[in-house]
């Protein structure tokens, strides 16, 4: 290969550059058989379902196929009332991309009656300054439901 004559680099600027880059992702997430049953029960019957481990007897919401504690395969579905106790919460007061709603809003962990785990969801129907740990909560379902966790609009105090 005939080498090119080397050019001087002195004429190339050195001014610092700041770049703005956009990273895109558009993942397709499949919910699986277990997730499908959970979401279709919410959509079709406004019912929250848990799944029970045959070995350690824990009831998980949202449901999953294998127990994370003892790895047993779970298949026993448990119908829950949907009511529960607020275990913890946070109030969001500033906007970030991809938030479920405009701030200020609150979301928390609700331990449903009959379940061993909590479910994270939005809290509404209450003054944000009056939310307290230990409040009894119940779900408020949307009129138009599509099979999404957001078919539950929020949990409100009973």
């Amino acid at each position: 290969m005939t080498p090119q004559i080397k050019k001087s680099v002195a004429d190339i600027p050195e001014e610092p550059i700041v770049v703005e880059v956009q990273a895109y992702s558009n993942f397709l997430v499949t919910v699986g058989n277990t997730g499908n049953k959970f979401l279709t029960e919410i959509r079709d019957n406004k019912t929250l379902m848990g799944i029970k481990c045959p070995t350690c007897k824990k009831v998980y919401v949202p449901p999953r196929l294998h127990c994370p504690t003892c790895f047993a395969k779970m298949s026993e579905w448990v119908k829950l009332s949907g009511k529960g106790t607020l275990e913890t919460f946070t109030v969001v007061r500033y906007a970030e991309p991809y938030m479920p709603k405009e701030p200020p809003y609150a979301y928390g962990v609700i331990k449903l009656d009959g379940a061993s785990t909590g479910i994270v969801h939005l809290i509404g129907g209450v003054d944000l300054n009056k939310i307290k740990v230990g409040m009894k909560m119940e779900p408020v379902f949307k009129e138009q439901r599509v099979g999404s966790i957001l078919d539950i609009e929020y949990f409100k105090p009973v």
Binding site: M1, P3, Q4, K6, K7, S8, V9, I12, P13, E14, E15, P16, I17, V18, V19, E20, V21, Q22, A23, Y24, S25, N26, F27, L28, V29, T30, V31, G35, N36, L39, T40, R43, P97, Y98, V146, G147, S148
Partner: protein, 158 residues
């Protein structure tokens, strides 16, 4: 070529999760490299120990861990080190699309001794031989952004 297949439309089966993250970062030392790319030139930093050049440029030699601040023009041509072609559909990480890949990816040793990779215009891999000379084909000057993909592809020199 992008391959399209039917997607489930029921969110209780699968759902899309589109996200766009915008972030800014300063190129710092590599700003000179970006300016050179906009000018249609490839430059690299040279190690004072063994004289090897690095593309993209680095301020510290990855082999000898010494500061390398001498900039060297790498010319417009290089010799083919290796090439590979993806012969099955694979996801494009930039778009999430499943597509076929017509063009091979080549690793090139530039005239200034730096190595870089890029797309190759020759789709028949039987015509690619190590040591053959390739030259850079650039985007039009007004479309360059100071990124490595300002080099559209590498073309064998007749």
């Amino acid at each position: 070529m992008v391959l399209k297949k039917e997607e489930p439309q029921d969110p209780a089966v699968a759902f899309r999760y589109p996200r766009v993250i915008t972030y800014k970062h300063s190129l710092g030392y590599q700003s000179k490299f970006a300016h050179a790319l906009k000018m249609g030139r490839i430059i690299a930093t040279k190690c004072p120990v063994d004289g090897r050049c690095t593309v993209p440029p680095r301020i510290v030699c990855p082999m000898h861990h010494v500061r390398q601040t001498e900039w060297v023009d790498q010319g417009q041509r290089g010799k083919l080190i290796s090439a590979f072609k993806i012969n099955f559909p694979m996801f494009d990480s930039r778009t999430g699309d499943l597509k076929t890949w017509e063009y091979p990816i080549v690793a090139i040793e530039l005239e200034g001794s730096a190595r870089m990779d890029g797309w190759c215009a020759e789709t028949d891999t039987s015509k690619l031989k190590t040591g053959m000379i390739l030259e850079a084909i650039w985007r039009p000057p007004e479309e360059r952004k100071g990124r490595v993909d300002d080099i559209l592809y590498w073309k064998p020199v007749e």
